[in-house]
């Protein structure tokens, strides 16, 4: 009962073709060549046009074809079905037992009727509603996640021995120590740009020397912490999502839960606490580097020596600017860590979701960092600091 047709050993495609002959009222169609999936293109449409154009009974003779497969048989069966629905019989005639059986096996399958849910009358409104409800749901879920982290954090403060030291130190190295070079270089350059542009613009008013004030306020209050947070969000938030997401899709997190361990305590807490410790340190380094870059630019453009810069800086600098910048950093650390871990734990079993969520966590954490920074700016202005 093997259906291998004679030419099975040569996979060279031979063209499918057909000839027609009118026998009285009946149109006889003789098929030739190989009616297989690779040769159906074009000839299938031509056959359909020919057959559907004829009003009357049809005969299709298969005995002259050299090879038939399920795709070829299916396309003949579909044609027969269409003709039958038009009330005109179409006979598929063949002597080959193989072809007969293939024709029986290759029946078209109807798509199951779509569920009878009536389409919405206002699709735009429906989509808006879905968007709002899903956004609220995600927001609520993230808030719950943050709450869970807070209780875990308090619990860990109360029982410091439960804190896992090794992962904490590991993540401090990954998110802190290894980020120092890139943060230092970037903020050095930003400091240079701010000081240089400031000096150029202020020179028009003859107030060139105020470039140091400008540098102090910009770097200490905003640039140092913002640039550092954005770099860390891009670097650490994505790696948290990828690490935890890979663990979720590998069912490692499920294994932890099955042992009665809380992934929040084991996976999330060390990462967020590591960021909480290292981000303020990184911001401090960033501030110093930005000021150094600014000093270099001012030395170059205003010919103000480094010692003169230090003198000037010392006389104008306000400690509150430094604290305004530093106080923001732990909040940013929590946002970056929580978003990264939340998205990671949201991963599904497919590897694709991890990649998607990694992108999402970077975008979301940078977005939230900037929004929170704006809120801080308003807050500090309102209370007059």
């Amino acid at each position: 009962m093997s259906f291998s047709s004679p030419s099975q050993n040569e996979p060279s495609p031979k063209v499918a073709a057909f000839t027609t002959q009118l026998q009285g009222n009946t149109l006889a169609i003789t098929l030739t060549g190989e009616w297989v999936v690779s040769s159906l293109c074009g000839v299938e449409e031509a056959l359909n046009t020919k057959a559907l154009g004829h009003t009357g009974p049809l005969k299709v003779l298969l005995d002259n074809i050299t090879r038939l497969d399920t795709a070829g048989a299916l396309c003949l069966n579909i044609l027969a079905l269409v003709k039958k629905q038009q009330g005109q019989p179409l006979e598929l005639l063949t002597q080959h037992q193989n072809y007969q059986q293939l024709l029986v096996a290759s029946q078209p399958v109807e798509e199951e009727s779509k569920d009878s849910k009536s389409p919405s009358r206002f699709p735009a409104l429906e989509n808006l509603g879905k968007l709002v409800s899903s956004t609220l749901w995600v927001f609520g879920h993230q808030l719950a996640f943050f709450g869970h982290f807070c209780t875990t954090f308090v619990h860990l403060i109360a029982n410091p021995r439960r804190m896992r030291l090794t992962p904490l130190v590991f993540h401090m190295e990954q998110t802190g120590l290894r980020t120092v070079p890139i943060v230092a270089l970037l903020t050095f350059l930003i400091g240079m740009v701010v000081a240089y542009m400031g000096a150029e613009e202020l020179a028009r008013f003859g107030a060139q020397v105020f470039a140091v004030n400008l540098l102090e306020v910009t770097v200490m209050r905003e640039m140092g912490v913002l640039i550092t947070s954005i770099v860390v969000a891009g670097r650490s938030s994505s790696s948290f999502t990828a690490q935890i997401g890979a663990m979720v899709s590998n069912e490692e997190v499920a294994a932890l839960r099955s042992m009665g361990l809380d992934p929040m305590e084991l996976l999330v807490a060390p990462r967020v606490i590591a960021l909480l410790i290292t981000l303020p340190l990184l911001v401090f380094i960033a501030n110093i580097m930005a000021l150094a870059g600014g000093a270099l630019a001012i030395w170059y453009s205003m010919d103000l020596s480094f010692m003169a810069f230090v003198d000037r800086f010392h006389s104008i600098a306000q400690i509150k600017n430094f604290f305004v910048g530093m106080v923001k950093s732990p909040f940013f650390a929590i946002i970056i860590g929580i978003v990264g871990c939340y998205q990671g734990l949201n991963a599904s079993r497919s590897a694709e979701s991890v990649g998607f969520l990694t992108t999402k966590s970077v975008v979301e954490s940078i977005f939230l960092v900037i929004v929170l920074d704006a809120m801080f700016a308003i807050f500090f202005t309102t209370i007059g600091i």
Partner: protein, 267 residues
């Protein structure tokens, strides 16, 4: 019932001919001077202990792993010396089912099955979809699975979709890597019957790597035993039972082997 349907072996109904295959990874030799013939229309089971290189052998046949030595001939085409165009034709005439289906996770079930049609043929989208739906039906899945994504499917369904994709170009040769691993016994038996039915109605040649003794007894015409870096024996199960090689004896006469044989009334 399986054995009665195949033709008597003759010299020129060999579909795949492996000669002197040697595979080495670093200093670890997996295959050495290995010979294997897969006959047209048969279902060949490939068994062997863990780490004997069953999957490596399958990947070597497919061309995903280049052998250090030896020749592979598929449908009379030497896969090492043939032109790229000839090899492409051969590649289009086999279907491969990887262990977990290897479905494209960004495509729906229907698009996964249609993928080879879309890439290699120019047939109309309507017929393409009809073919995909027919294959979905052939592997025993309901039509409402069509719009789903691989992430939403169970392991057994993923394997069936993978099989439908492997079948969509109407291949001559079907290569299956542990098709029943991870399926429940009912699902595994249904899958076995499915492979048998497809072989009988479409005239396929099937080579399957398997650990599943029940599948071996149920559908395999011949079984190839991979041990000591080569194919130790290729034969029907009753004849393999008489093979004195210790691993084969342990395999078929061990508690699991006996249970499977008892189920089939062989031993």
């Amino acid at each position: 019932m399986a054995a009665s349907t195949i033709e008597q072996p003759t010299a020129n109904n060999v579909l795949v001919r492996l000669r002197g295959i040697t595979n080495r990874f670093g200093r670890n030799t997996v295959h050495e001077n290995l010979d294997l013939d897969i006959r047209k229309g048969e279902i060949l089971g490939l068994i062997g202990g863990s780490g004997t290189g069953k999957s490596v052998l399958l990947r070597t046949i497919i061309g995903l792993n280049k052998q250090q030595n030896g020749s592979i001939e598929i449908m009379g085409v030497n896969m090492d010396t043939a032109t790229e165009a000839t090899k492409a034709k051969v590649r289009n005439s086999w279907g491969v089912l990887f262990q977990d289906g290897a479905l494209f996770s960004s495509l729906s079930v229907l698009d996964n099955i249609q993928f080879p049609l879309r890439e290699f043929t120019h047939i109309s989208p309507a017929l393409r979809e009809s073919i995909a739906r027919m294959k979905l039906h052939m592997v025993g899945l309901p039509q409402d699975a069509a719009p789903k994504f691989p992430g939403d499917l169970s392991g057994g369904m993923r394997k069936r979709v993978g099989l439908a994709r492997a079948l969509v170009m109407d291949p001559f040769l079907l290569l299956l890597d542990e098709p029943t691993a991870g399926l429940d016994p009912v699902g595994a038996a249904a899958f076995d019957q499915l492979v048998l039915t497809l072989r009988n109605s479409l005239g396929l040649t099937v080579c399957m790597v398997t650990h599943d003794l029940d599948s071996l007894y149920a559908i395999c015409d011949r079984v190839a035993v991979l041990a000591d870096k080569k194919i130790l024996a290729v034969d029907t199960i009753p004849k393999l039972l008489d093979n004195p090689y210790p691993w084969i004896q342990e395999y078929f006469k061990g508690p699991r082997g006996r249970a499977a044989a008892f189920g089939k009334g062989v031993a």
